[in-house]
């Protein structure tokens, strides 16, 4: 789906505004990212970038995945 926003945080806010049920899954009580969600911008974890403040452009792809890494 296409969502507008200049940062990862803005995009997620837009997503939650469009689909309010996602709020409980994606955000904690303080509005921070739920620790069980990993967010990738063009396949890079935002924790290796600037987190929710990571800037995004029109062609960037945001991927939301459950935090489930394990050998």
């Amino acid at each position: 789906m296409n969502v507008s926003g200049a940062t990862v945080g803005e995009v997620i806010a837009g997503l939650v505004a469009a689909y309010p049920d996602l709020s409980a899954q994606l955000l904690d009580a303080e509005g921070a990212l739920n620790r069980f969600v990993n967010v990738f911008v063009n396949e890079t974890d935002v924790r290796h970038l600037d987190g929710l403040a990571t800037p995004v452009g029109e062609m960037d792809q945001l991927l939301l995945l459950p935090a489930m890494a394990g050998g």
């Binding site: 069980f36 974890d45 960037d60 945001l62 890494a69 394990g70 050998g71």
Partner: protein, 448 residues
């Protein structure tokens, strides 16, 4: 800007439909979220629909207590299925590999070398594909069959590749194995030997795992460590069951365990806890010590700094590929376990790991892969730190065979050791000699 939300609504996938047709065991109640406790129906789901926390298997332990005792277990053949009542499987599969029943070996010589009086090695290098991963895959594969899944798959740091490939072959299922493209060749070849389709991914293990989350959702394949993860993780409990039974139905003071995702570390604790809950052992405190490679030690770093969250490592830099998970799923739970039990999580550099591989191989006759070097070195480090005390009974896990990482033991070795010109009485490779006794005597006399 394009946004994808993947594989959250698991109940609407093909796997979900299969799950609804599966008949639950009366002792395996459901899945339950480890974060919020919310129950989920038993099925190939792995994240909580409410909070995205990880799911685990919930048992009716009182029901298990009513049907299981030491005599029942003793009456069964060796192997992990003898603990059936505490596993999320209705009955042992008709086919499959002979997994578990690995020896618990007294390691006096190694213990003396690292200052531990009562040291045991749980030699899990002796599973069908030479690593503990056979335990996890056995459970996941049996459950996959119960769910009607027809293809097995995994995202592997190495040992899981061979374990998944072999288990799939034994059950007559095709297997897809996803690995980092630069994985040790021996581990890739191992999976190929069993007829798996191996898909090398140009990236780190975490890249492989991220891709496989999407592949699992789109294909419906049974990824043993993703959409079958709640069942897969239960396999590691059988290490705790065997250790307790081999010690005469009691627990050691300390266990030393390698940490990659942290699943084995935390499931060992769950295993010992369940044995106590169903009356098979007395509940006693156990210190949990974890080992990581310092080149990829997000959990050890969190423990050392007192952090409650684990900061992922972007680019692992270690030859301990089996532990090179930069973003471990059970990292936070592992830190909590070490802290709650008075344990520690040690970070071991690669030369120290290589030296520990040589040490355990030469002192005990057991040749572990890199992870075993990490756990032996972690035990030594915890002893120096005082987490392991004088008189403690300690079990160190060796979870993979050294033949899988054949170059590792050589790291940091001096040129004059193991050189191609070993002399009599020295460890190493002697020069080729003619097939005559006189030539042998010349070499033995030092003339070579």
């Amino acid at each position: 800007m394009t946004t994808e939300t993947a594989p959250v609504p698991v109940t609407d996938t093909a796997l979900g439909r299969a799950a609804r047709q599966a008949k639950p065991s009366p002792r395996v109640v459901s899945l339950a979220c480890r974060n919020c406790g919310r129950p989920e129906p038993l099925g190939p789901a792995y994240v909580c629909a409410a909070c995205l926390g990880p799911l685990q298997v919930a048992y009716d332990l009182e029901a298990v207590r009513q049907i299981v005792d030491r005599n029942l277990i003793a009456s069964r053949p060796p192997g992990l299925w003898r603990y059936l009542e505490l596993l999320p499987v209705d009955a042992p599969p008709r086919r499959g590999l002979a997994v578990g029943a690995t020896p618990l070996v007294p390691a006096d010589r190694l213990g003396m070398a690292i200052g531990i009086d009562r040291l045991w090695i749980k030699d899990d290098t002796r599973n069908p594909t030479l690593s503990f991963k056979d335990r996890a895959v056995a459970i996941a594969a049996a459950r996959a069959q119960a769910f009607g899944i027809d293809t097995l798959a995994c995202a592997s740091t190495g040992n899981l590749a061979g374990a998944t490939a072999a288990a799939a072959t034994a059950l007559g299922m095709p297997a897809y194995v996803f690995v980092p493209a630069d994985l040790e060749p021996a581990k890739i070849d191992h999976a190929l030997a069993y007829g798996a389709t191996v898909v090398p991914i140009e990236g780190t293990y975490d890249d492989v795992n991220r891709l496989c989350l999407e592949v699992a959702d789109e294909t419906g394949w049974g990824f043993v460590n993703i959409n079958l993860r709640p069942f897969y993780a239960e396999g590691s409990k059988t290490l705790a069951f065997e250790i307790a039974e081999q010690l005469g139905w009691r627990t050691p003071d300390v266990v030393v365990v390698p940490i990659a995702s942290g699943a084995m570390f935390t499931k060992l604790a769950k295993g010992f806890g369940e044995l106590a809950a169903v009356g098979l052992i007395e509940q006693r405190p156990i210190r949990f010590i974890g080992g990581q490679a310092s080149g990829c030690s997000p959990v050890a770093t969190a423990w050392a700094t007192g952090a409650t969250e684990v900061d992922p490592v972007r680019t692992p830099d270690t030859f301990v590929r089996s532990l090179a998970i930069g973003n471990p799923a059970d990292g936070r739970y592992s830190v909590e376990l070490a802290n709650a039990t008075g344990g520690s999580i040690e970070a071991i550099d690669d030369p120290t790991t290589a030296a520990a591989i040589r040490q355990v191989a030469r002192l005990e006759g057991i040749y572990p892969e890199t992870t075993g070097g990490v756990t032996v070195a972690a035990a030594a480090a915890a002893r120096r730190r005082g987490v392991i005390e004088e008189g403690d009974e300690v079990v160190v896990l060796l979870t993979g065979n050294g033949l899988k990482t054949p170059e590792a033991r050589l790291l940091g070795l001096r040129d004059d050791c193991d050189s191609p010109a070993a002399r009599p009485g020295e460890p190493g490779l002697a020069p080729p000699i003619p097939p005559s006794f006189s030539a042998f005597e010349r070499w033995r006399g030092g003339a070579a």
